[in-house]
């Protein structure tokens, strides 16, 4: 499988990364080198193998459904690039 510049444009959009038109072809080339190398996994017969989903088999612990924190508005907003009246300020989303 080989990646072309349209695919790079599409996945960059999905990843919310802006890539200039000049940058598309070199990036496609870079990705193809890596994807070509990982293609060696196709040599392995995995038809009867379950995918590994966690490194250590454990059952998830349960905890009581109680509030453990809250009322920390100042701490939540403290690193925001822009705030107003106790809210995050973001670019206009709805026209």
């Amino acid at each position: 499988m080989s990646v072309d510049t349209d695919t790079v444009r599409r996945i960059a959009k999905l990843a919310r990364l802006a890539i200039s038109d000049d940058g598309l072809a070199p990036m496609a080339q870079e990705l193809n080198v890596i994807l070509g190398w990982v293609d060696q996994l196709n040599e392995v017969d995995v038809s009867a193998v379950e995918p590994m989903t966690s490194a250590v088999q454990t059952s998830l612990k349960k905890r009581s459904d109680t509030v453990t924190d809250g009322h920390i508005q100042e701490a939540v907003l403290h690193n925001a690039p822009l705030t107003e009246h106790g809210f995050f300020v973001v670019p206009k989303v709805v026209e």
Partner: protein, 492 residues
């Protein structure tokens, strides 16, 4: 008084308890060493004032008989750990100005036992790299140089600030994280000990996430005993990390009995890779001989899917990274570059905030997870991962631990390998399998290359059997008697 920075963590701990010197004196020695070593670029943020405050508090607790396990011990913290009110960057421009309102569980455990924070250590951006050259804050320089050569060498990565600082005596020990070798490879490059615990042994809460099914915190230290002491404090169950395991934390220091009589140590045939320098092959053989002389039995084993570990890793890790790094959108913290609308602001912020290596991995991860490719790449890689874990499971029915080289080469020069991403990935060929299988691994300095650079041997153990790993590592360390040190050319 002798130079306090020459003491090991265990020696410093005993000296503090015996009141031979104060925690403030010890911390001052490190603050001075740190300030005189800025050429190495090991620290992104130095916190000398906080360190002195913490040291004063430690002296108070020592005086009143309330000393913790690491009371007064000055440590460096990889800047992937969130530290309350202290800039936490992950080596990335996108976290500009980020001062967490909370403390990572691992660092909180260290402070609870009295450790002193010297500062935040440089790293590859979001821990993505094997040479510490991808940091927004510039490359870290290794204190080591080749014999008769002044070329600046990499300290390994991604915990390159940690390895450089420990090797140059700019902290007593450091925290690191290891997703594909990021503790063990830099430790091997700088002649120190690096331990990646079993997945789940240490909490990941408050550590900036790279690949969540692989990331694990661990210590970089001057010797095996120091690593054991640190792990004992870093490890433990944390309700805030559902993958952290609720089982008792053993006394790891007590595991260092020096007795490995009757143990079976596996030598995996598949780790003899093409082009491995003769010096590394020879050191591996010496390591096996040392363990045999100490009473262990050396057993040839096979881990047949080893060669597929790296390509599987370079699907799984970028896939998880692309998902984890989706949170950096410039809205709630870090860098925001204003655009014409919301989407444009996201794209501008992320494009300005992430470096080239991080972008490349996000794109690979997005691609392998995208519609139509998920089964061919991600699911296949996860199946291969099962095969790799099964290889280890079968091997551990025959042996107690596995001995391999830590890296396929010694450290290289800064800039030397930047044109070849796959060549850079190959640094981690011996360390990645343990991450995929979730197993503990340690790198122990075992000799010097022909050009005078440190080389490490790796031991891989069964899940949650850090004690055996540490015990065998202790024997290896004693037999290797690695005492070489870099000249302090960097000191100003």
């Amino acid at each position: 008084m002798t130079d306090l920075t020459e003491l090991s963590l265990a020696q410093a701990r005993d000296g503090l308890r015996g009141k031979k010197f104060s925690a403030v004196e010890l911390t001052d020695a490190y603050v001075a060493a740190m300030a005189a070593a800025r050429l190495l670029n090991s620290y992104i943020t130095e916190t000398p004032d906080r360190a002195r405050d913490m040291a004063r508090a430690s002296d108070g607790r020592i005086a009143s008989g309330q000393a913790g396990a690491l009371e007064g011990i000055p440590l460096g913290i990889k800047d992937l750990f969130c530290t309350k009110d202290v800039l936490s960057t992950a080596g990335s421009h996108i976290l500009d100005g980020f001062k967490p309102a909370y403390e990572s569980t691992v660092t909180a455990n260290l402070w609870r036992e009295g450790a002193v924070m010297l500062g935040k250590l440089n790293l590859d951006e979001f821990a993505m790299g094997s040479s510490n050259e991808t940091s927004y804050y510039g490359p870290v320089v290794s204190p080591w140089r080749r014999t008769g050569d002044t070329a600046k060498l990499v300290p390994g990565g991604s915990s390159g600030g940690s390895s450089s600082a420990v090797a140059a005596r700019l902290c007593l020990a450091a925290t690191g994280t290891d997703t594909g070798g990021s503790i063990r490879q830099p430790a091997a490059f700088t002649g120190i000990v690096g331990l990646k615990p079993t997945y789940g042994r240490c909490s990941r809460w408050g550590i900036v996430a790279f690949a969540s099914s692989l990331d694990q915190a661990g210590p970089l230290a001057r010797d095996v005993r120091d690593a054991a002491i640190l792990l004992g404090v870093m490890a433990g169950h944390d309700p805030k990390d559902s993958t952290s395991v609720d089982r008792p934390v053993p006394n790891y220091e007590a595991a260092l009995t020096g007795n490995i009589k009757g143990m079976r140590i596996g030598i995996p045939a598949e780790y003899r890779v093409d082009g491995m320098p003769q010096g590394i092959e020879a050191m591996w053989g010496r390591g096996a001989k040392w363990l045999r002389e100490a009473g262990a039995e050396i057993v040839e084993i096979s881990l047949p899917h080893t060669r597929y570990a790296l390509p599987a890793y370079y699907i799984v890790a970028p896939a998880e990274a692309s998902s984890n790094l989706a949170r950096y959108d410039g809205m709630r913290y870090g860098l925001r570059v204003a655009g014409k609308d919301l989407i444009d602001t996201y794209e501008k912020s992320r494009s300005a905030g992430f470096g080239a290596e991080v972008k490349r991995r996000i794109l690979i991860g997005t691609y392998v997870l995208s519609a139509g490719y998920y089964d061919a790449y991600y699911l296949r890689a996860q199946r291969v991962r099962t095969l790799i874990a099964n290889d280890f499971r079968a091997a551990f029915e025959k042996v107690d631990a596995i001995l391999t080289p830590a890296t396929p080469s010694p450290a290289f020069a800064i800039g030397e390998r930047n044109d070849d991403p796959i060549g850079m990935f190959l640094n981690d060929v011996f360390t990645v399998p343990a991450n995929l299988a979730g197993l503990p691994g340690i790198s122990v300095p075992a000799g010097l290359s022909d050009d005078g650079l440190p080389l490490g041997l790796q031991l891989i153990g069964k899940a949650f059997d850090e004690e055996t790993v540490l015990r065998v590592a202790g024997v290896l360390e004693e037999a290797a008697a690695f005492t070489a040190r870099p000249d302090s050319w960097w000191r100003s």
